[in-house]
Symmetry: C2
Subunit: 392 residues, 2 copies
Amino acid sequence: MNASEIRELLKLLDQPDIISFAGGIPDPAQFPTQAIRDAYAAILSDPAKAAQALQYSVSEGYLPLRGWIRRHMEALGVPCTEANIMITAGSQQALDFIGKLFLSAGDTALVTAPTYLGALQAFNAYEPRYDTLGLEGGNRTPESYREAAAANGGRVGLAYLVADFANPSGETVSLPARQDLLTLAEALDTIVVEDAAYQALRYDGEAVPPLLALDIARSGGIEASRTLYCGTFSKTLAPALRVGWVCGASAAIAKLVLAKQAADLHCATINQMVMHQAAEAVYESQVASNRKVYKERRDAMLAALARHMPENVSWTRPEGGMFIWVTLPAGIDGADLLAQAIKDCRIAFVPGGAFYGEGRQNNKLRLSFSLSTPAQIEEGMARLGALLRRLG
Amino acid sequence: MNASEIRELLKLLDQPDIISFAGGIPDPAQFPTQAIRDAYAAILSDPAKAAQALQYSVSEGYLPLRGWIRRHMEALGVPCTEANIMITAGSQQALDFIGKLFLSAGDTALVTAPTYLGALQAFNAYEPRYDTLGLEGGNRTPESYREAAAANGGRVGLAYLVADFANPSGETVSLPARQDLLTLAEALDTIVVEDAAYQALRYDGEAVPPLLALDIARSGGIEASRTLYCGTFSKTLAPALRVGWVCGASAAIAKLVLAKQAADLHCATINQMVMHQAAEAVYESQVASNRKVYKERRDAMLAALARHMPENVSWTRPEGGMFIWVTLPAGIDGADLLAQAIKDCRIAFVPGGAFYGEGRQNNKLRLSFSLSTPAQIEEGMARLGALLRRLG
């Protein structure tokens, strides 16, 4: 099954009787609609603010929003100034610009296996080779990465990872593995791209400091750091205002600002002003509410998996985020299983094969628990378990 | 004077006593603030619409907005379907994606001299060579373009122009020159990128059909056409929602949709819904109001130039848009003149040198009349004329 066949299948998800665990998206019932509506109304009812909100603005982004993000980053252990922050159209756009700046055709991008599909799509435009970051207990030396990159006619342009509750694996990179990655990046003289899309959504366990915070502690300050932290309001407040950010050394941010100016001038001014106002008003309560609701769903899915999966199926136990990553017996192809699951038992998920830069494994599924009630999760896992038992 | 020195100078424009003709931006007094405010309020007060407006959506854009644009394009002589239209973050983003798809390093981009600076910035990321499109009475053969491109190790990837009331020249490409360009593009088997940012803002004279409409008439239909039309609401409704579009053959649009998905997933859903509602409600009256206000300012500037400029200065007479392009005596550098103009007579404009892909000319200025009252225009041109007379 190829990518366009999968896309065709996933279009069936609009059918109302399908229980879908495919979309890795927030539950719209969680959106702070009233705070956002109030912010649009307040800004557009003040003539001076309205004139600013509807007019062209600077590529680096709305300064008060960058101030809010500066304080947010400082609370995460990242002392910085507004010059270290640029607003992007979601964290996805930061990945595109970083690919544009740091990858030339033939260069190597280090990515986990599996990794976020959207990162591969963003980087693919710049024609890199992919090599696999083995984060926990990997035994690759810097030389082995460097030599493999050189053999492909390029250098290691960047190392990309979702460090917390990764899409698709749900896994979190441990503190020692983060330190090892920074050591590796230093040896390779390459940047680290920390995709923090899910970082705020921790349901239990201890928070691990962001790679950017660890990098700053090692290097002496953000200006000496090599990590670009990509954040977003998409999973905590709402995705469709398209407001995210990238934080790092000001020299890198200045280059990203030129890329932003060339690509789309700036993010919607009004949405940046609204996001600033909404973040000031409800960020903390939103994150608390998200954690409560999604934790319940994660717990329901872990319990249902334990109840219904055959013994030859295993899965990750995420401490946050939206995803559980399932490993099927070696002979079962996730994409074929999806076709059968939609047809026979009206459930859907994303087959795992697409999430690899190299070293593709097809006996994997990504299950998202963010959009389904505990009852739907129980019913869906029961159907999936029964299907897998029928397949032997 | 280099680009960063010019940027530093232009930062002075915030000083209140400067009369600026630099920014090529709409007058915020023209924004349909109430219609936009009403649309945000209506959408966010309806729970089902709010859930849609704040959620992830498809990369090609909000279907009802694409329907509105389809009818708009049909009225311009471009029969098409929604599959021929993708929503972009202003027309600037269409230029970035087109560069990404159609320019490889060493390829040639044909551009007018002068041309829109933002197009050069978007294309520069893909490392093209520039060659000059001589539109009116140029005598370059297709072979001469092809051979020069091949000598640089690439092909002609695209031909880009602002056909109506160009930024920066204010000039409109005639019907015969449009036909000649389509003939040239056919001979070179290259795409034509029609930047239509100002097309709706015609103040007098006869409208010339869009290149895409002429292309369709020649080729038999949009699916056989080679023109990508880049439109925007930035100059007619408001820039800061960041909503524009690209219209062309569906095979090209499908590739642009993949570029969009990789770059930032989609434009802000809520802004697309608001723009649809605002366009339905006020597009016609907005365009009428813009034409009235900006025509008066253009007329004021043409009259003031005639009154105050020395005989060795000439300028274009735009039939629409926001810009007049001034040619100084050969010895005067526009950037040096800007420094002196800000210091001595507190007026500003954009020096012309930046607007060239190749064949740069420095004795040029871009004057924008969109943001100034007729009285400010009269005063500003009087000061500029006096300065030029002092310089001899």
